[in-house]
Assembly symmetry: C2
Homo-oligomer: 162 residues x 2
Amino acid sequence: MRITEMMPKECRELLARTGFGRLGCSRDNQPYIVPVYFAYDSDRLYGFSTFGRKVDWMRENPKVCIEVDEVKGSDSWTCVIVEGRYEELPDTAQSNPARQRAYSLLETRALWWQNAEAARNIEGKSESVSPIFYCIHIDAISGHRAEPDPVESDKPVIRVLD
Amino acid sequence: MRITEMMPKECRELLARTGFGRLGCSRDNQPYIVPVYFAYDSDRLYGFSTFGRKVDWMRENPKVCIEVDEVKGSDSWTCVIVEGRYEELPDTAQSNPARQRAYSLLETRALWWQNAEAARNIEGKSESVSPIFYCIHIDAISGHRAEPDPVESDKPVIRVLD
């Protein structure tokens, strides 16, 4: 297996293509990870959630990490790490342009509302749900790619026939 | 989509079956996530690594989170969250029983050494690699399962023929 660093452009392409990863937040230096869907937009990621531990923690400490990977096998994968800052986009005049942008990008992923609805209904809770839009400002991005080492069968045929 | 809580036994079964997830650690309240392979053993997870940011951070702050999921689709997935504490297993008389246990469990996953070797060779670095065994003591575990709502096609055939 050979591991190489990905170019920033390749990292951003992975974020745009997948729109799915794991978000890490932290309180009192205790990390917490949840899977999230997001929409990539230049220097930020947009997301949507109902209120819960993740939003509670990110309001207190906006430092987050997003990890996105594509694993084909143990020796064939890509992995991108984003360090960023959480910003909530409340329903105010000031936040409305970003909120609208988030909405329009997330709208293309049909499941965003479904997830929020399901979270509301977990364990029979039926209180009304307040949609929470947020963005993650990307401060740093890095990525690695693993590829299998060449094997016998990859050698030119002439070598096999020697 | 319907989301339900998983029983602790179901959570542990998922950890044992997958042996793969994302590990979150934190420094100065900045979370960091990496994919990891591990071996589940009762009240702990065993892992193996070469030295890097993750080990550096966990030595300073042992609070970690492990997230494991199986995603079949946006409305069909399971997700388990472990909160735990990192303990390194150095090559000493005191740590050797746990270290041997880690080795024997990880040995069954053929790729553990391959990953360490690849990490050593990343970007042409060729310094000798010191294997680092560690375990994550499980302090808390929780999990959720999402299942699709019943749809028309799931109804008995007699209903379709009505």
